[in-house]
Symmetry: C2
Subunit: 572 residues, 2 copies
């Protein structure tokens, strides 16, 4: 046995208990987390914060080192932090066809590894990612504009949990059938017929991950790890604005692969310039059999239409909806919703956009609130939440791109009444662009064109409807047609909640009911919450469910006689 | 509780033990069968054969009765048995858009049933299909041309087993996550945050089954039952030549649904005239979200290209391959292969077509056989197998269509030497058209165009190659490009078998090794053998694996605070 074979076994043995626990957790769906989300010295060590920042700083203004990676080193890269810092890091540029060919070659030995070996390698990659969480937090912070603590959590620990969740599903799915079986069929006369059978999970082929600007790791890891563990090489195509978090991830993955005796080119980085269009040739290459994508509806639809040779998993966008009927905690409702709208300036695929209030008003412990009154109260809650600049910056982060800012400006022209959308100065980074959430009051009928489009960023609408029933009809119709990742209902009436559940099942969207405390609809917890449903246009994938992994591999069988077929011989 | 609700519960309770056993069997993959395949009075009862035939005869020459079925009753139907009998049965004609609308409406209550209830209904349908096995055998025999015993087995018991296998996968997949979960997240300070969560499997939408002429039930039941059990209404679109087997199945399904208190229109029959084209509008209807298809590559590719709104599962065709290297049981090999080529006149998607023999010869216990010598010996084995007319008829069945006969005639013009293809008179049905398998000797290089196409029916090629390595290269290349459902290798050398396994993994095809006894590569046993691999162009579906069921439903969640969020109240 070679030393590399020993290393493979070690990684599985090292992580087997965790893998078993994670595989149980996905079927139990209670609370489970493998990676602490608190950026605390008591958890990660006294030196970790400073060491992480130093590691991040040390990468600036030089080529990113990826030993043995194909392509032209240091050829592309122009990341500028939403907080103003020019990263100055360059990455290798690889021709798409070359990347696919290299990945395919590297994938041959990876295919022959067992699901246990592959899961062990994946768990070790995640362990190293976790150890690098502070460095990753800086990388995510300075590429996405997420506030630092959120970058640590969503970009680090929570993303690692989502990765482990995908590992658990992929590992369990391949172990659902035995590696071998004996088939003994009784005969009405004479001896039974016996066959020995072998079942081998085989990866589908080269996998391509097309990642997004805002959540490169959280949205990227599930596809990356699901493909890896099911035996597929993966080409990681980051968004040009957010390369570093995935370059760090690729680098750690390649280290672990090499230590385990595999070709590190099982995981490749396909960075490109901001005007690059490599996602198209990568995703449509005949040898690419799996594509994972997070991003715009336009490009997601393009991939679904054109990457016909591949299993395509998309998370696109939609009209996240809140139906406001009644509440017994109006202040809690406002606080909760204000935070949901503010977190990372609404640049989350889960941020509510369309808030439906009956013209007759939202009933509650603070009286009846018309749509206009509710919008004013919500604006007040936002002002309270974001009044302190330090706290505002820690909640809003920074606008990731000029396109988001343009959308806020454009939203100033819609609706009858508008609140918010005002600039906030970042106490630490004067170059960062921040806006408080803009809330506009619309009419369900007159302004249909406005709220039936997605306004990604800090823009939400309080929409006056005829009744809660009308609100639920709108939920059903708009989400069925345009998609959504989240829906929320506030009601004190059980029949209304029942009707909301039925509407959510019709629309194919996950529902949150009466969130007034410290859980927010934007948050989706690995191992418990499904993210995306495949049941409405917002996503053709769910993070993570069995459908997310079963299409990434096939089980191939061979069968042979178990005993000599007759006295003339047969297989010994 | 209404009486219909009681009936639902009964069906699950009645079949729960069987469902559990079936769910275990699919993960064990040893031998399991729920429905006896022997058409024996000792198994099915003294009266069963005569009663089954009488039931079949009673349906001839009249409209097929489907109480409550939409459409114009008795409007279409022109089935003529390959054995000469004109069935004279007519079926309702339903407009595709009406069928989809009716199914959609019926599906609403079906969605609300639990996975247990749906699995219970499905198991009861299968029990009634099993009780009707003799009637079904006549229906399959007289629509497909299968010999009677095969029609009983493949069209009855084995098809029912494949159906139950799909039920087991679909049922287990929906129970993989709990119906409810409690999520309690510890906080670094203060009380934990607690949510109650509900998880509901929801069917994707209307499902359409486009069935084939030759195996309407065996190939049709998996998709039908997988969709039903995952909560989808199903429109069954039979081939115009083989409506009756599926009409019987639909009728029994509707009976059980009605008894369980559901709208029988959860299962519809969409029969059409021989020149009908209703598969296209059905499969591409916006509300149709699942399509199952067995048939030609041409139409399967069309569905994959055009039914973009649906999850499409196809079983098409390919170049089933045998690599002949060496054997220690030459006579057994010939007997086994002769039967494989003869069974139902090669009209199986699993029948071998391309038999590769090195020019230097197949080595074995009977000496070295050149391709020409092997073809002559195989022809001798075929003559021996088919020498007795009664046995020949019981093995060959009848050619299903004139197109198959044309193909045999066309094959008389290819290759250097040809055997077989001779007419056989059916001892009972003089109108039946039978041909012994035609075996032509080809050269791997010169005749590439001939054997790189599918010749569905009793046509096979002995192809002279440079070496076994060359044969394996051809297996890899032709199956990778054109697909195959079966591959076989004969070798006494372990390194050759290893190389064949590797080539089969590359090509994405299931492998049979050294079949010389009473198991034939055409046979695919439910609960143990995977049929189709999704890993080569012959099939985008596997009967049955988790991927076959996971795309038919989504799990939607709702979540709500488990406790008052704070002292101001929250949900009680």
């Amino acid at each position: 046995m070679s030393s590399s074979a020993t290393a493979r076994t070690d990684f599985f043995a090292r992580h087997e208990v965790l893998l078993r626990r994670a595989a149980d957790a996905v079927t139990e769906r209670g609370y489970f987390s493998a990676y602490p989300e608190s950026p605390s010295k008591s958890v990660y060590g006294e030196e970790a914060p400073a060491a992480g920042e130093a590691a991040f700083r040390a990468r600036l203004d030089k080529p990113f080192d990826l030993p043995g990676h194909p392509g032209e080193a240091g050829a592309v890269g122009a990341e500028v932090s939403p907080y103003g810092l020019k990263l100055g890091i360059t990455y290798p540029r690889v021709d798409p066809a070359e990347a696919v060919a290299v990945a395919r070659t590297a994938g041959r030995a990876w295919r022959r590894a067992t699901p246990d070996e592959r899961a062990g390698v994946a768990a070790e990659i995640l362990a190293r990612l976790n150890a690098a969480s502070f460095e990753m937090a800086h990388a995510v912070h300075h590429t996405t504009g997420q506030p630092f603590v959120m970058a640590f959590q969503a970009g680090g620990a929570n993303a690692q949990d989502r990765g482990l969740e995908a590992v658990a599903y992929a590992w369990a799915a391949q172990k659902r059938h035995p590696a071998t079986a004996s088939w003994v069929k009784p005969q009405r006369k004479g001896e039974p017929i016996a066959l020995d059978k072998t079942f081998t999970p085989v990866g589908r082929g080269v996998s391509v991950l097309v990642a997004c600007n805002t959540f490169p790791t959280w949205n990227g890891y599930p596809g990356l790890f699901a493909s890896l563990v099911t035996g597929n090489p993966v080409i990681v195509k980051p968004h040009a604005n957010a390369v570093l978090p995935l370059a760090l991830s690729v680098r750690l993955a390649r280290d672990v692969l090499a230590e385990a005796g595999f070709d590190p080119n099982v995981v490749l980085l396909a960075a490109e310039a901001a005007d690059g269009r490599s996602a198209q040739p990568l995703a449509t290459h005949p040898d690419v059999r799996i594509v994972d994508f997070t991003g715009s509806t336009r490009f997601g639809d393009w991939l679904e239409d054109n990457a016909r040779q591949a299993a395509v998993h998309t998370e696109k966008a939609g009209l996240n909806t809140v139906v406001l009927d009644s509440t017994d905690d109006y202040k809690g409702l406002l606080r909760n919703l204000a935070f949901s709208l503010s977190l990372y300036s609404g640049q989350m695929c889960t941020t509510p956009q369309n808030l439906y209030v009956p013209r007759s008003g939202l009933r509650g412990d603070q009286g009846v609130k018309t749509p206009a009154e509710f919008a004013a109260d919500l604006s007040g809650a936002l002002d309270k939440l974001l009044g302190d600049p330090q706290r505002a910056a820690g909640t809003l982060g920074a606008l990731a791109t000029g396109a988001v800012l343009d959308r806020v400006e454009k939203a100033r022209t819609v609706g009858s009444v508008r609140y918010g959308g005002r600039p906030v100065e970042h106490p630490e980074y004067p170059q960062a662009v921040l806006r408080t959430p803009l809330v506009a009051v619309l009419d369900a009928t007159e302004d249909a064109e406005v709220y039936r489009a997605e306004w990604f960023g800090p823009v939400s609408f309080v929409i006056a409807t005829d009744s809660t029933e009308h609100s639920l009809d709108l939920l059903r119709e708009t989400i069925g047609r345009f998609g959504a990742l989240t829906a929320t209902v506030h009601s004190t009436e059980e029949p209304v909640l029942e009707a909301a559940r039925e509407a959510a099942l019709d629309a194919g969207v996950h529902l949150a009911e009466n969130f007034t405390g410290q859980v927010f609809v934007n948050q989706s917890a690995a191992f418990s919450d499904f993210h995306g449903s495949q049941a409405n246009p917002a996503a053709s994938a769910t993070l993570t469910d069995p459908a997310f992994v079963t299409g990434r591999f096939a089980v191939l069988q061979s069968r042979r006689p178990a005993t000599p077929a007759d006295e003339e011989g047969g297989r010994a």
